[in-house]
Amino acid sequence: MADSFLVIDDSKLLHQMYRLIFSQGTLAGSTVQYATNGRDGYGLLAANPDLTLVLLDLNMPQMNGLEVLARRQAERLHPHIPIALVTTEGSEEDEARGRAVGAWDYLRKPFQPADIERLVTRARAEAAGRT
């Protein structure tokens, strides 16, 4: 089955970048859904139990990345889905807080397509190890 991903980011530019990344190389052909705020993103997360990986931006209006993670932890929503918190330099304190609410990994801007590929490979491997 092809991989499916969820991108939660309020920047349309970042959506375009993800679109570019997910159309190339080993990621070509994957399904990607996009949300522009944490609230919508949480809804999509709830509706898609088979996601390979979620890329969650930290800095967003209407539920930021930490709030999404905290709510997901409290509601024990799909705990098996890895969520990578996407941060920019200067968010180190928030990264520590992200870990506390169950962030699976971090992706720090500026990232490269190869960084996403590495995260996906790890997420696939962990999912394979579980089954």
Binding site: S11, L13, Q24, T88
Partner: protein, 555 residues
């Protein structure tokens, strides 16, 4: 890493589209913040409100590999973080730093990915670090952290991103002009078909095939019109791209003049042809700085007049029946009618019975300035006569309305585009000319007895006034040794100027696609461009503003 080597380099236009408004909004907030701090309001929510936007600009700039923007946004974040904690550091110095930094950020983003701004960005970062270092709370830690962070993302990745690429494409504006020329040729060919259809109809009379040909010609015209409107839309830019620089400018001018001014901008999403916008910037800058320097009073004077110390300057744009209306409104002292009257008298003008509206109109006359002293900012560059000239040159109009003690409003009405001009086609000595309809007030049958000669110039009565009527052949340089009397005159207007132009024939109205001037046509004294008519003939588009200024075609 430059944007070109960046895996997301193709998304540069998306970056600008997203980040420029964010940076401009942050700049507006900082201007607001400065005013609040001066008024003794800590405005903590304002300071907090920019955090997300700055962070987005920083993150996106980093993704694009645009280091100067990333650094400036980061420095602004650091400064904001400090100011959120250390209330004693808030004040004019801090506000000036924030405003200057956002101004730089806006410039950097607007001109992305131009290189060579690295120095300005580095200077600003240094300045912010100096500002931060001046407080005991936080030494130079941010700089070290930044350097540490930037390592480790050296690989350039792939750039073969064609599939999921952007829905926004950057196009050289000249290519849009080239497309428009092609469209113009299509329109000409279409009208050639229409003309042929008419001639065939006359020769052979109605028949089924001609009916079908007529339908095909009409369908073709509709398609070309759709192509035209789609193409025009791609040339449009939001007025906010020009308005965006005003918050900072108003603040700087007000600061230099010791005034307090709040700028309110509305309708920034209204769009105009880029070619119009480019030429609108300078007149607007002048009107806005004029309003701050001459319109809005100093706080003490406002207090005496029972007004709030802070003046309000409004900049509004809206679309009104196919034209764009831009208004510059201030709540200042209004035009000084006494001074205008005095100046008019020294210039030998008859103004004893002139009403307010007439007096206001005079400020657009050349050399007419009532400012007591030439102000450092508004006094440079153009006068109001030049402003009016530029607006008329764009096929626009400018009006002023003012009430003593209550303020002044300048209203500009502009065509959405300069590329296609709705024109009246006239014929003079068998040559055809296009007169932009914005400058045509009326066409009148020229009864020989209605035109009298005064001082060797033709004069006629038009709408209760005497206006000059000039011979089209004399002005346009067409040569016909024996001239039959011209049958019509066209009343041309621009601002308060009016003049009749005698022509042989009124051919009709037509949208003409403006082409540049062919150098072979000689000095373009009275001609602003050329176009090709349905029959393939080249017609000159007349520059009515220059004709009204007395220009004639060079022979």
């Amino acid at each position: 890493m430059t944007a070109d080597e960046n895996p997301f380099g193709d998304l540069l236009q998306d970056y600008v589209v997203e980040c420029l408004p964010l940076a401009e909004q942050v700049g507006d907030v900082f201007v607001e913040l400065e005013r609040s701090w001066r008024a003794g309001d800590p405005a903590e929510e304002l300071l907090a409100s920019v955090k997300g936007r700055l962070h987005t600009v920083k993150g996106n700039s980093a993704m694009m590999g645009l280091t100067p923007m990333q650094d400036v946004a980061h420095a602004l974040e650091d400064a904001c973080a400090l100011l959120a904690r250390a209330s004693e550091r808030r004040g004019d110095e801090a506000a000036a730093l924030l405003i200057a930094g956002t101004g730089l950020l806006v410039d950097l983003i607007r001109t992305a990915p131009a290189d060579g701004h690295g120095t300005a960005a580095a200077d600003f970062v240094k300045q912010v670090n100096g500002f931060l270092a001046a407080t005991p709370h936080r030494p130079t830690e941010p700089e070290e952290r930044r350097q540490g962070d930037r390592r480790g993302s050296g690989s350039t990745g792939r750039t073969d991103g064609t599939d999921g690429a952007s829905s926004v494409v950057r196009i050289d504006f000249r290519r849009l002009d080239a497309l428009l020329e092609v469209l113009g040729e299509g329109l000409i060919q279409q009208s050639a078909f229409a003309e042929l259809h008419r001639r065939l109809l006359r020769r052979v009379g109605p028949c089924e095939e001609l009916g079908e040909l007529d339908q095909a010609v009409v369908a073709m015209e509709k398609t070309l019109k759709r192509l035209e409107s789609t193409l025009m839309e791609t040339r449009l830019l939001a007025v906010s791209t020009v308005f965006g620089r005003f918050p900072r400018m108003v603040r700087d001018v007000a600061h230099a003049e010791g005034k307090r001014v709040r700028l309110v901008v509305a309708g920034g999403e209204t769009s105009l042809d880029k070619a119009v916008l480019d030429r609108l910037n300078e007149p607007l800058v002048h009107l806005v700085s004029n309003a701050v320097v001459h319109g809005i009073e100093a706080p003490a004077e406002r207090a005496r007049a029972g007004k709030p110390a802070e003046g309000v300057l409004r900049l509004e744009a809206s679309s009104v029946s196919g034209r764009v209306v831009i208004r510059v409104l201030d709540d200042g002292r209004g035009l000084d009618e006494q001074a205008i009257r005095g100046k008019a008298e020294t210039l030998g003008l008859e103004v004893r019975s002139a009403d307010s509206a007439h007096l206001h109109q005079l400020i657009f006359m050349p050399g007419f300035s009532t400012a007591d002293q030439v102000s450092r900012l508004a006094g440079r560059g153009m006068g109001l006569d030049v402003v009016a000239g530029s607006i008329h040159g764009l096929g626009g109009t400018i009006e002023v309305d003012s009430a003593p003690g209550q303020g002044t409003t300048f209203t500009l009405s502009l065509p959405v585009t300069l590329a296609i001009v709705r024109s009246l086609i006239v014929e003079v000595d068998r040559e055809r000319f296009a007169l932009p309809l914005t400058h045509v007030a009326e066409t009148v049958r020229a009864e020989p007895e209605a035109i009298r000669e005064i001082n060797h110039r033709g004069v006629t009565q038009w709408r209760g006034d005497l206006i000059h009527v000039a011979d089209g052949g004399a002005i346009l340089g067409t040569d016909a040794p024996v001239r039959p009397p011209r049958r019509f005159y066209v009343v041309m207007t621009a601002g308060a100027k009016r003049r009749g132009l005698l022509v042989d024939r009124l051919v009709g109205h037509q949208d003409v696609v403006v082409k540049g001037l062919d150098p072979a046509l000689g000095r373009p004294d009275v001609v602003s461009g050329t176009t090709i008519l349905g029959d393939g003939r080249v017609a000159c588009i007349l520059d009515v503003v220059r004709i009204l200024d007395g220009a004639r075609r060079a022979s």
